[in-house]
């Protein structure tokens, strides 16, 4: 990035400022965005490290075109692998905090604490073009605090040929899933991969597949009887030893599935190009099946939200960048959503033109998402998720009473949710 836009030297900077002042004095129509005394603003923009090849180059390319359109604002893209939330949170406390960052678990607390800026003006009149779910997700006290940059759909991939060979039809109930996973497991191979910890998203899927909810109107709801029943039901997968554990990459990477290590894996729409490249047509997609009659199949809808650091030095420039990329540049949004991994563009008009999502399994996934897709609540931050998942991990390992564990976790999560909403 900065190699292409060398920082001006001190002298050039001073000279530039003088010219700028002179220009402003004669009524030149320069837009002094960013407020940094006439010099060039450099925005620090954070992305988590996407796994799909080409994404980092793409993000850098977008930033460069932005600077081309706005020569007074340089953009430094920082690509952060590993524990993104931890790294982001720690940095937000400091003066090195990024001006713009994406976040995977948008939460009310960020807005209430004044950490992120309201972006209503960034949406402007284009607000109507965003899906209602995506708007709700980032709405706190009637204001919009983020822009969804992509919607992710997470679903179950299965190998058609392997299931057919074993005489198994794609499972439509949890019983069916557990039985299929068991039948496809042997001493050396496993039938299903949901995550290296044996849990991944499966606990929250289980809750929803049995008509339960995670948080309802600020009340933590995952200790309900349906939730307890469904999470406890996951234990069967562990007792049957039909889960792949300890693979080298985790569930969001399709390697286990594409390398033929497992015939069924919970993964995301983003992985579909890689899956297609490896397996051709030999795969299908399914929702997480209903836990039992009366429950509902479920897919998880997630994705990333772009936020502006309200405590940053360049809030205006940051907003300008966010509007430029995630509202105005529909062509780039389309590129971001379908050229690397597959995602659903949050702008309805862009989604309509995303032709790669209109065919085959991708189309099927989008339709399933429209029917069964569920967002995590926007109070689901890392502390709440940690309490829930820790309890679920104990339950599936058979350590303690499920109802009690979830009730304790719910109490703990409630304290955190209350704090976020305070």
């Amino acid at each position: 990035m900065s190699a292409h836009h060398p920082e001006p030297s001190r002298r050039a900077f001073l000279g530039g400022s003088l010219l700028f002042v002179a220009g402003a004095a004669v009524g030149c129509s320069t837009d002094p965005t960013g407020g940094s005394a006439g010099g060039r603003t450099t925005l620090d923009v954070w992305f988590h490290a996407y796994g799909e090849a080409g994404t980092q180059q793409a993000a850098t390319r977008y930033a460069e075109s932005f600077t081309k359109a706005n020569p007074d604002i340089a953009v430094k893209v920082t690509w952060v692998p590993g524990d993104y939330t931890g790294k982001l949170n720690a940095t937000l406390l400091t003066s090195a905090a990024p001006d713009v960052f994406e976040i995977g678990d948008f939460n009310v607390g960020l807005a209430r604490r004044g950490q992120i800026a309201a972006l209503d003006d960034v949406y402007g009149s284009d607000k109507a073009d965003f899906g209602a779910g995506d708007l709700d997700y980032v709405t706190v006290d009637g204001k919009l605090y983020g822009i969804k940059t992509l919607d992710d759909v997470m679903m179950l991939y299965y190998r058609k040929s392997v299931l057919a060979k074993a005489g198994i039809t794609p499972p439509t109930t949890f019983d069916g899933l557990a039985a299929a996973a068991k039948a496809l497991s042997s001493k050396a191979a496993k039938g299903l991969f949901v995550g290296n910890d044996g849990l991944g998203d499966s606990a929250l899927l289980a809750v929803r597949s049995n008509g339960g909810d995670l948080v309802t109107d600020g009340r933590v709801a995952f200790a309900s009887p349906q939730a307890v029943e469904a999470v406890a039901g996951l234990r069967r997968l562990h007792d049957d030893q039909s889960l792949l554990l300890g693979f080298t990459t985790d569930w969001w990477d399709p390697s286990a599935f594409t390398q033929g290590v497992v015939p069924m894996q919970w993964c995301g729409l983003w992985a579909m190009p890689a899956v297609t490249a490896a397996l051709g047509e030999d795969f299908g997609v399914l929702p997480w099946p209903a836990f039992k009659a009366g429950g509902s199949p479920v897919l998880r809808v997630g994705g990333w939200t772009s936020c502006v650091n309200a405590k940053g030095k360049h809030v205006d420039a940051a907003k300008k960048f966010v509007r430029w990329l995630w509202v105005e540049q529909t062509a780039l949004q389309k590129d971001w959503s379908e050229s690397y991994g597959f995602h659903i563009p949050p702008r309805t008009s862009v989604a309509a033109g995303a032709d790669k999502l209109t065919r085959g399994a991708a189309k099927e996934s989008v339709e399933l998402a429209a029917k069964y897709g569920r967002n995590n609540p926007n109070t689901w931050d890392s502390a709440v998720a940690a309490a829930f998942n820790a309890a679920a991990a104990k339950i599936v390992a058979g350590q303690g009473d499920p109802a009690r564990l979830l009730a304790d976790a719910a109490a703990q999560a409630q304290a955190d949710v209350d704090k976020q909403r305070a």
Binding site: D83, D197, L245, G246, F247, T248, S382, A393
Partner: protein, 308 residues
Amino acid sequence: MTTAPTVRRRTDPRAWAAFALLTAPMLIGLGVFKYVAILWSFLLSLSDAHGTIALGHWVGLDNYRRLLGDPAFRTSLGQILLFTAGIVPVTFAVSLGLALLVHRVRRGRAVVRTAFLVPTAVSYVAASLLWKMCLFNGLPAGVANLVGGWFGMSPVPWLQTTDPPLYWIVLVSLRLWLQVGFYLVLFLAGLQNIPRDVYEAAALDGATGLRLLRRITLPLLRGTSVAVLMLQFIAAFQAFDEFYNLFNSGLSGTATAPVQPPLVYLYTTAMGAQDYGLGSAGAFVLTALIVGVTLVQGRVTGFGRADG
């Protein structure tokens, strides 16, 4: 030791200046990074510090109540005690055993000692990587599974198996590999300090093998043993690196890890959830625990006194 052999006279200002100059960096550094830090953090532990390290929102002992009421924290304390109770004797026994063995090696002792010592140069991160991805991964290609396969075992996910808790094997073997060399060197030095004639006298009395070990070697190694135990205890209680790196997988953090030592808990609390009040309270409870045990052990054994 005795006091400095310098003759005591009227302190001249130049002595003061020299003393100040030589000690100031150290005293200021320790003052800021230990004393100020501890005091500030203590005040933070009494306030609600969510996403901030500024003081002001006092909540009394609320953080301590929440901390001790959190089953995750209590479990982590239990688990670290279990870990300590396991790793300390094992490391002690293995390093002592190896030291006795190496001590008797006549040819190539230096080479052997180097082989055991070199792993102490490896970081916990690199070792975790190797243990997680190569030795103990869940695939049939993992080294442990491969070796198990020769004996007819089917591949197991070592880190994820909680019943029986196979992950302890991973954790303990990793720490052994990294630490044994260090304590081996200490024991070897202790053994070399035992005069040869003590053994000769005992041998004349007809003592051999185990008896010799129990009657002569172990008692004479008492000083070393106490030091080793102490260092091991403190090291075990501060375990973080390998737990974080073995169980953390990218976006999902360490919430579902089968073991979470207190420092990982503190890290998630302070750095993940940004609750610096609770994190500070946790740091205090842990420090108090370690200081308490150290004091008790120090009182009993005389280890760690100021003048050596």
